[in-house]
């Protein structure tokens, strides 16, 4: 390849990186799900505060699961499966099942009486899932979300009731709503930056 310039070689290297990065971008396209679940958490909190019903969280979670499945299957289209996507997906599915079963059992058995314990366990599990995803994707922003959840999990153990509530609401806003919107915008910008590739 005698006529290949250094700039051309660099372009090739950038092209390889950007195309392989498409796998990561398909993860970023889940920003809507973070926002959806953030709103679901707020609704469940409002419902449980208002009626003190043990069904507030399970019912809201089931509705959010149904909406997630429908939107995800509509968005999936012809997107190919990736090992990375399956790994990340497995983490979040396992998290959903664990939280649903644990909190449903605790609620129905009447043992979910300590708000601090609820916030601590939920924050720790969300920290785990965000942390694992972030480490796999090497995504600093998501890792900072994991740190926020871990801080809330620890801080709520020492906080008063109102402080614990505020911590939880702020973490949901930062790590679900704001992070979801950021991911969505980042994905849109990357799509705009892409230009056609010729042979």
């Amino acid at each position: 390849m005698p006529n290949t310039t250094e700039q051309e070689l660099r372009e090739r290297l950038d092209l390889i990186e950007s195309m392989i990065g498409e796998g990561r971008r398909s993860i970023e396209s889940w920003g809507w799900a973070f926002v959806l679940w953030g709103v679901a958490y707020y609704l469940a909190i409002a419902w449980s505060e208002w009626s003190h019903s043990v069904w507030a969280w399970p019912v809201t979670a089931l509705i959010a699961v149904a909406v997630t499945v429908v939107v995800a299957s509509l968005k999936a289209g012809n997107h190919p499966g990736t090992t990375l996507g399956r790994a990340i997906g497995s983490i979040w599915i396992a998290l959903g099942v664990s939280m649903f079963l644990l909190f449903l059992a605790l609620g129905v058995s009447g043992r979910l009486t300590d708000q601090h314990l609820f916030v601590a366990v939920m924050s720790a599990i969300l920290g785990l899932a965000n942390g694992a995803s972030a480490l796999i994707l090497r995504w600093k922003i998501q890792f900072s979300c994991a740190v926020v959840w871990w801080v809330v999990a620890v801080a709520t153990c020492f906080a008063t009731d109102p402080q614990s509530r505020i911590l939880f609401l702020v973490a949901i806003f930062l790590c679900q709503v704001l992070f979801g919107i950021y991911s969505h915008i980042a994905e849109g910008q990357q799509r705009k930056r892409r230009s056609p590739i010729h042979a």
């Binding site: 390849m1 290949t4 070689l9 498409e22 012809n78 230009s195 056609p196 590739i197 010729h198 042979a199």
Partner: protein
Amino acid sequence: MPDLPELNPVVHGRLRLALLSLLSGVEEAEFTWLRVKTEATDGNLGAQLLKLEEAGYVAVKKKFVLRKPQTLYRITKTGRQALTEYVQALKQLLGPSI
């Protein structure tokens, strides 16, 4: 001075390189997905995929989903090897400047 490596001409084409890189990150991909990602025309994309298929770098599978034909592509072991060697050659050519 060590010999500089030759770049594999089949892999070196921009669109073919993009296709191999894309396929290296997924299990298999539909023609339409590859078209969206590369923004190439149907004709050009088909021609470059055929070259990769002839070189043994990608494998093709055709199937019907809800009575609609679907063409799926996946990178082969040889294709992955060729891409890896290409990246190594690129890095060697660019030297310490990268």
